[in-house]
């Protein structure tokens, strides 16, 4: 049995998945001034915020997550009260921003934190099985792997793979204190890239079995496989061999060849170390196998959405499959030397042809945890 993606719902600084994709096609960047109080003192001046509200309002991450999960289930025609539905949520910081805001509030901070509000069970009745994975920036990819496992093992009729992250004050302070100068915009794969910025984001995709009953239901694409690996080298520096193993794991799991890849939605964080390592791994595993994929990435447009990043990439990949358009890498003007010979989409959108090819999406996290997902048109 194989798995399909029935629906996908996304929320970024650029809006819904549809709006986000259109904005990225248009080359727009969602970065703006960091709205946290005393942002300047943090040595972080810019960020990719969702909406216009106070970034320290309580339970924003939960609100976004519920919105995406509920929308994805609705679009997939799934009723959790009638079907076996599980949810796997990937996140780096969960509601840490709320915990911090709560603790610093002179009134609320004296009361115990309402832990029951961390769970979204009440907002999505019937989802009885919820697992939270905290695999840093590849959490969403690991969630997607678990979702496919649960479907192929027939443990559930539908699984929501979701991811969410908001910005916490402590995370911003840490980022500000390990960077010599503030970054204004993420510029993936650019020779003059200056580092990463956080993006607020949430995403949810519904994974269902590919069987006869699914034929008449909503379908966005076929979920081929997610390859997983651990660098076992360094906590923060990426490792080309580790990334390559996640890629080869993905292809071997589904028995397909890297030569079939037509486009890559890259991890592309715009940091000094990630982008060259990702280029080297793609060259060795994908280009060397005879593929010459278009390479794009969204973090220049929506920031690094951390726990949601892999699923934001998945949404972009599914829209590439359905529209045949590959958006440009927002923020990329002059590709890095390590990317020579790779087809980065710069400035204008490109055509995804032929449409039967595989779209690969990458997500790598601290701890050396890598997740590479492959999808194709169903």
């Amino acid at each position: 049995m194989t798995a399909l993606i029935a629906s996908s719902s996304v929320l970024t600084c650029l809006g819904s998945g549809k709006r986000t994709f259109q904005a990225v096609l248009d080359g727009r960047c969602g970065a703006g001034p960091l709205r946290h109080a005393r942002a300047g003192a943090l040595n972080v001046t810019a960020g990719y915020h969702i909406g216009k509200d106070d970034p320290e309002r309580l339970f924003r991450a939960r609100t976004w997550l519920v919105r995406c999960v509920a929308a994805a289930l609705r679009q997939a025609w799934i009723d959790p009260r009638r079907q076996r539905v599980a949810a796997v949520v990937g996140t780096g910081l969960r509601e840490l921003a709320s915990v911090e805001a709560w603790a610093l509030d002179p009134g609320a901070g004296r009361q115990p934190f309402p832990v029951d509000r961390l769970d979204f069970g009440a907002a999505v009745p019937g989802v009885a099985d919820v697992v939270t994975l905290s695999n840093a920036c590849s959490a969403g990819g690991h969630a997607l792997a678990v979702a496919q496992d649960l479907i192929e093992l027939d443990v559930a009729d539908a699984v929501v793979a979701a991811g969410v992250d908001a910005m916490s004050r402590s995370m911003l302070a840490m980022i500000g204190r390990v960077a010599p100068a503030p970054t204004e915009q993420v510029r993936p794969f650019d020779a003059d890239r200056t580092g990463v910025l956080l993006g607020e984001g949430a995403a949810a995709a519904v994974v269902v079995p590919e069987d006869s009953t699914q034929a008449a239901r909503p379908t966005l694409g076929r979920l081929l496989a997610t390859g997983l690996s651990c660098d076992a080298q360094h906590q923060t520096a990426p490792d080309v061999d580790g990334i390559r193993r996640a890629m080869s794991d993905a292809f071997s799991r589904v028995g397909r060849a890297p030569g079939e890849v037509g486009a890559v939605v890259a991890h592309g964080t715009g940091t000094a170390l990630n982008d060259p390592a990702e280029c080297a791994a793609l060259k060795a595993e994908v280009l060397a196998a005879g593929a010459d994929p278009l390479i794009t990435g969204v973090k220049g447009a929506v920031g690094h959405t951390s726990g949601a990043a892999a699923l934001v990439n998945l949404d972009i990949a599914l829209r590439i499959l359905s529209t045949g358009r590959v958006p440009p890498v927002v923020g990329l003007r002059r590709p890095l030397p390590e990317g020579e010979g790779m087809r980065f989409v710069v400035g204008e959108q490109a055509r995804f042809e032929p449409r039967r090819r595989i779209v690969q999406t990458n997500a790598f996290g601290f701890g050396g945890v890598n997740a590479v997902t492959l999808v194709e048109a169903a």
């Binding site: 697992v131 994975l133 402590s170 651990c230 076992a232 906590q235 945890v369």
Partner: protein, 369 residues
Amino acid sequence: MTAAVVTGWSAVSAAGIGVPALVGRMAVAAAGSGAAGAELGRSWDGDPLPQPRGHALPGFSVREQLGRKGTSSYDRGTALAVVACRDALAEAGIEVDDATRARIGVVLGTTVGSFKSTSDFSRETLVQPRPYLVNPVLFPNTVMNCAAGQVAIRLGLQGVNATVAGSQQAFLASLRYATMAIGRGYADVMLTGAVEEFSPHRAWAAELAGSNRNVPVGEAAAVMVLARMEIPVWAGRHRDAEILSVATGYGLGGDAAALTGCVAVALRRAGVQASDVTTLVTGEDSEEDRRETGPAAAALGHEPQRLLVKRSLGECDAASGALALAVLLALHRDGKRDGELSLLTSAGTDGAVSAAIVRGWGRDGAYRE
């Protein structure tokens, strides 16, 4: 049905380091002592403690265990996890080499990673003089999956590497993740455990939340070496336990029916008779605390002998379930309980519940293929 086999295990806790320390401690606990925890004094690493007692291992030294090289940036939880994983591999008799390392994965349960590392790092960003720069080497310790990553680096384990956040549920959720990772071919062996370090931060959190009334705060890293049923030759020849099933669920507002249902699912998946379950291992902290025993007994139709691990080893939060299984296997070590079935449960304050059915064996005891 068997989901996976335990070919070795180890633990670091207030009882000490390794299997013999835990086996010895259980003999002492059976005699009815040790429940109050060790005398830790008024402070810990220079920070005041709310209570002078706790189930910690104050003499634990990462340098003594692992040497100086590569360990200077470890936080306590990472060090505990690395030592427990190293010892668990040794207990299983697994040699990690280039032929096997990509087939060995790691999954560890946590609450929030190292609460102390995150707090200390955040505090540094506020109290450092200009230009406010903090030690970037300590940054990875603030990430929740730090311990699992360092285990992989130290022991050279390149298989799937995951961290499951779930506090009291963390271990059983990790166990489920591991059995699935093995069943789905991501790895042949999964180091599966959970870690929670002792720190003034956790001690104060428990004090302010009032959760330390029955048992003091503890610390532990406990790790099982899980292998698929057809154990590869290199993955160890012992069979310390069989994980027959794991189930997880959720009940709004701590609904007792959720755990009852979860236990029923675990029994069905394991394919065993409820009447054959002889031991119930819960996260309860006193005889009077029946939050898990009640719903579990309702599913079983009887009340097995209870094993309350927290009473002798403290409140270890995310590591509770892993330490409980380690204690159960320590009790199995002498072979007198060979083949007995146990039910492990946990229930969190947020409504999450989980259950597992385990069959334990003494080392090289009565188990025969």
